[in-house]
Symmetry: C2
Subunit: 156 residues, 2 copies
DNA sequence: AAATTCTTGCAAGTAATTTGCAAGAGCAAG
DNA sequence: CTTGCTCTTGCAAATTACTTGCAAGAATTT
């Protein structure tokens, strides 16, 4: 029951639940209801989620009691170490999480008024500078974090 | 005693202590030992400082008892509202602060190993995309936050 | 110098994690 | 299908990083 590419139309988000679960299995980790629910919630998310949002979304999707907050915290900590998810900072008190897209990352546009977060579908403009940081500054494993803030059309 | 551009050689960082203090005065605010010490510390800083770092640096520079943490917090809150300083997020637990450069902002390069922070003296590559977010996405007052992470030459 | 108003230190309060630990749940064996 | 070994989870307590209330103290004005 481990299809990797079998499904109908729609754009495929690179990572499937099975792919991720296999990754966990490969690390000797267990496939628990909580982890399955969390991964399902992340796959369905249209924007980065806070720990509390993940907790609620996972509970709904799996039609089960919401997980304990500490559990969500530790699952996300694990998924982050495995590079399956990444934590992002949107200028709020809480951190948010989203699945890593190994092929093409995206940056974010946050409305400073209503809090809406858009995932930008624009080519990332900083790759050249990133290369320069490697070549001329001598840095290794260079990554970046880029988010835009502004007032969305609805909020003006 | 309010020189705005009078001094010797060296590259001038746009904002002088007097300029800032005049700005505070203009808002009906008082020139206190603490504020003077904090501004002096910020002007001397070679990288963004955390509240605790500001507290210590300000104490040393003014050769006085370190300020209370809450005081530093409130002074920075005020300076931020006046757009004199800005808070930045370097992927750490604490926020960091630095003086705003009204002429040309800079982005940051953080070593994920030793924590060193470099202020990049490179043209910012995201202005075109920022314009597009205004024109085609309809966002107003668009700003951005961009930081790079990697392992510095010393840490490899 | 006195009055006025803004600031500060100190202590208490919050919000968001982060951790310890014993009970519970996967999963490989038998 | 039951057992045993380990990994996970829930619950409560601990931490970290702010954030706020308030009365004493300091900067300016009069
Ligand atoms: Mn990018
Ligand atoms: Mn920039
Ligand atoms: Zn909005
Ligand atoms: Zn380093």
């Amino acid at each position: 029951m481990s299809r990797t590419h079998a499904h109908g139309a729609s754009t495929l988000p690179t990572l499937s639940a099975d792919t991720i679960l296999d990754l966990l299995r490969g690390q000797g980790m267990r496939i628990t209801r909580g982890r399955v629910a969390i991964i399902s919630a992340l796959l369905a998310a249209k924007a980065p989620l806070s720990l509390e949002e993940i907790r609620v979304a996972a509970g709904k999707r799996a039609r089960q009691e919401p997980l304990d907050f500490a559990t969500v915290y530790r699952v996300m900590e694990t998924l982050e170490e495995l590079k399956i998810v990444q934590k992002i900072h949107l200028g709020r008190a809480r951190s948010h999480y989203e699945l890593v897209d190994p092929h093409a990352h995206h940056d974010h546009l946050v409305c400073t008024d209503c809090g809406k977060v858009e995932m930008l579908d624009e080519p990332c403009p900083v790759e050249p500078l990133e290369r320069k940081l490697r070549r001329h500054y001598g840095y290794a494993e260079v990554k970046h974090s880029l988010e835009f803030f502004g007032r969305c059309p609805d909020c003006q």
